[in-house]
């Protein structure tokens, strides 16, 4: 893969390069979704691709999420390699039937005769004051479903690298892109070539506590770890990258080293991914723990519009630091 190691690009550009590479290298690959062509994508990820690859392969769809996602399932079953873009996870609910009842089940229901090598990309997350119908993090709903693979690249390398294994995979893969990261810049390190669909990564090493997270919250955890380090607490940060399957081995290995864990998840707390990760730690590492597991999730409220309330609803650096201190046994 030509990943341009050493160059500084945005997350958006990293995704675009990956899509362009896929289109150029495999004639079965095509892109479809609302405003992906003429408009250039609602987050400008596909900007310019229409001119480069033409209308056959960069297909603007009507506002018909159920139909075009379902058409992606059908095209994939029939031998194509569609990359379907849904503007945001909130709108994916109009296509949830096709994702959960068709994409996730065809392989199983057909006794393994049919496969759905489909990639669905969608933006996720809050932070831009878009209120209660554009800001949610519903990844865990899809991570609940056997038959789907769910990834969430949080770094430039992963954004650049994850599409290739996703397209090579015979199963449906959902790629979640935190909309607050599209403008993030970073250097391509060559790690893009090693991106996969099933492993977590330790993004920062530390001996005192493990922060398990994914998506945009990775960067909040990294900032919290810096603050904690100034106070003498060395936090290890694990980026899940894959939400289904979860990489238990990497999580547990870290917890065994630090003996303490705080999980940071932009989804709501009740029934969320943080609960799943915590339970796995309990099942497999209960006796390695020196303190109760902590969680920092979004408050149980639809995301409100005003900035101060939106900020208060989301996991913040401050809330992460406080949760870690509690886990370390500091008096509040």
């Amino acid at each position: 893969m030509t990943t341009g190691t050493g160059t500084v690009i945005t997350y958006r550009e990293a995704m675009k390069q990956a899509i362009r590479e896929a289109l150029a290298s495999d004639p079965r690959v095509f892109v479809m979704g609302e405003d992906v062509g003429k408009y250039g994508g609602c987050y400008a990820v596909t900007k310019g691709l229409l001119d480069e690859f033409g209308e056959e392969r960069i297909r603007d769809t009507p506002l018909s999420e159920s139909a075009f996602v379902g058409a992606g399932v059908g095209a994939a079953v029939a031998g194509m390699r569609p990359i379907v873009e849904i503007m945001t996870v909130n709108f994916s609910l109009l296509a949830a039937d096709q994702i959960v009842n068709s994409a996730a089940t065809l392989s199983h229901m057909s006794g393994g005769q049919f496969h759905v090598p489909l990639v669905i990309r969608m933006a996720t997350g809050a932070g831009r004051q878009l209120a209660a119908q554009h800001s949610h993090s519903l990844e865990c709903w899809y991570a609940h479903v056997p038959g789907l693979r769910v990834v969430e690249p949080a770094t430039i390398d992963d954004a650049r690298g994850v599409l290739r294994p996703a397209l090579a995979c015979p199963d449906p893969v959902l790629i979640f892109e935190p909309n607050s990261l599209y403008n993030m810049e970073g250097e391509l390190t060559g790690a893009a070539a090693t991106a996969d669909l099933s492993t977590a990564r330790v993004r920062r090493e530390g001996k005192d506590v493990t922060l398990v997270t994914y998506g945009a919250s990775l960067w909040r955890c990294m900032a919290a770890a810096e603050q904690l380090a100034a106070g003498g607490v060395e936090a290890e940060v694990v980026d899940l990258r894959s939400l289904r399957p979860l990489d238990d081995a990497t999580i547990l290995a870290s917890v065994r080293r630090t003996r303490r864990v705080v999980i940071v998840d932009e989804g709501w707390r009740t029934g969320g991914l943080a609960a799943e990760v915590a339970m796995r730690v309990v099942e497999q590492g209960f006796y390695d723990l020196d303190a109760p597991i902590g969680r920092v999730c979004s408050e149980e409220v639809p995301i409100p519009y005003p900035k101060h309330l939106e900020d208060a609803a989301l996991p913040s650096v401050e809330r992460i630091v406080t949760a870690v201190r509690r886990t370390m046994g500091d008096a509040e």
Partner: protein, 329 residues
């Protein structure tokens, strides 16, 4: 240009123009406040489509209900929601008409039966069907008026809602604001049948298409639909042919359409066409126009002052309103 309909008085003409200018001036200020960072999130302006909201609202009474989209400031103002609480909502202040929780895309007002700006395209149509159903089951005379863009006609919810409303003969007005673009997607790039009203025939829904730039034509068509619904005959779909003069939202470079096309539509926009016709008929002078615009500006200024001076909701209230704070009525 269309003639003024017979019997239009000076008073009537000025009233309609006033309503349109109130929306226009309000939103002009919104655009500035967005650039200044006072309004955040997504902001979708109605510039060019004012005749639809104003014409429709002339027909709807207190007992009727409205379901709208994220492009709903015009509907809200024409419905009679006061500008102060509306602007405060755009700021996210607690005095906003949705308590500040919704912002520009989610205007709600129980007093005027304004059931919200819905920001899921097509999401409002089933709600309107349900409101119409409730009205019918309780034996009321109210109608449910539902605004949506032509882009929504591609969603399954559009088709399912039309069928259901027709099947049960519900008092629903499906009000399609066809401004030719769904974000950056031109109508012909997204619909095999570009006459939106033609789709209604498949469901046995009464349908008409009218010039959405002509406030009188809008009003007349809405009258017909409301009378039909109140007589228990069921829903109507009205396709209003209109145009949005500005970007889809504040983040749109508009690379998908020609400036010349926009200019052409502006030339027969709703405000300019009514103004020209009223003047030509001798019903209005330039002084009248200036006075009306000045009064609208003053109303907008007072609304901005109100929003600026209003308080933020305390953070301790974050999880309020997730569940009802009253017992079921």
């Amino acid at each position: 240009m269309n003639e003024l309909p017979a019997g239009i008085t000076r008073e009537r003409g000025l009233h309609l123009l006033t309503e349109m200018l109130r929306i226009r001036q309000f939103e002009g200020r919104c655009a500035e406040l967005y650039s200044a960072g006072r309004i955040r999130g997504f902001l979708h302006l109605y510039d060019g489509e004012e005749a639809v909201a104003v014409g429709v609202m002339q027909v709807l009474g207190k007992g009727d209900s409205i379901v709208s989209t994220y492009r709903e400031h015009g509907h809200a103002i024409a419905r009679g929601i006061a500008m102060g609480p509306l602007m405060a909502e755009l700021y996210g202040k607690r005095t906003g008409c949705s308590g500040g929780r919704g912002g520009s895309m989610h205007i709600f007002d129980a007093a005027t039966r304004f059931y919200g700006g819905n920001a899921i395209v097509g999401g409002g149509l089933p709600l309107a069907v349900g409101i119409g159903l409730a009205e019918k089951m309780r034996g009321g005379r109210g109608v449910a008026a539902c605004f949506f863009g032509e882009g929504a006609a591609a969603e399954g919810e559009f088709h399912e809602s039309l069928n259901l409303a027709a099947l049960w003969k519900l008092p629903v007005l499906f009000l399609c604001e066809n401004n030719l673009y769904a974000m950056g997607t031109a109508l012909a790039r997204s619909e095999s049948q570009t006459d939106i009203h033609a789709k209604a025939a498949a469901y046995g829904v009464r349908a008409v298409a009218v010039d959405g730039m002509d406030v009188f034509a809008v009003e007349a068509a809405t009258h017909g639909a409301a009378d039909f619904a109140r007589a228990g005959k069921g829903p109507t779909l009205i396709e209003f042919r209109t145009y949005r003069f500005r970007a889809h939202s504040m983040f749109d470079a508009q690379l998908y359409r020609d400036k010349a096309e926009v200019e052409e539509w502006r030339r027969h926009g709703p405000v300019i066409s009514l103004t020209t016709r009223l003047k030509a008929a001798g019903l209005m002078t330039e002084d009248d126009f200036q006075r009306i615009q000045g009064e609208a500006d003053a109303e907008v200024k007072a609304a901005v002052d109100f929003a600026e001076q209003s308080e933020w909701e305390p953070v301790e209230d974050l999880t309020r309103h997730v569940y009802a704070e009253v017992s079921a009525p």
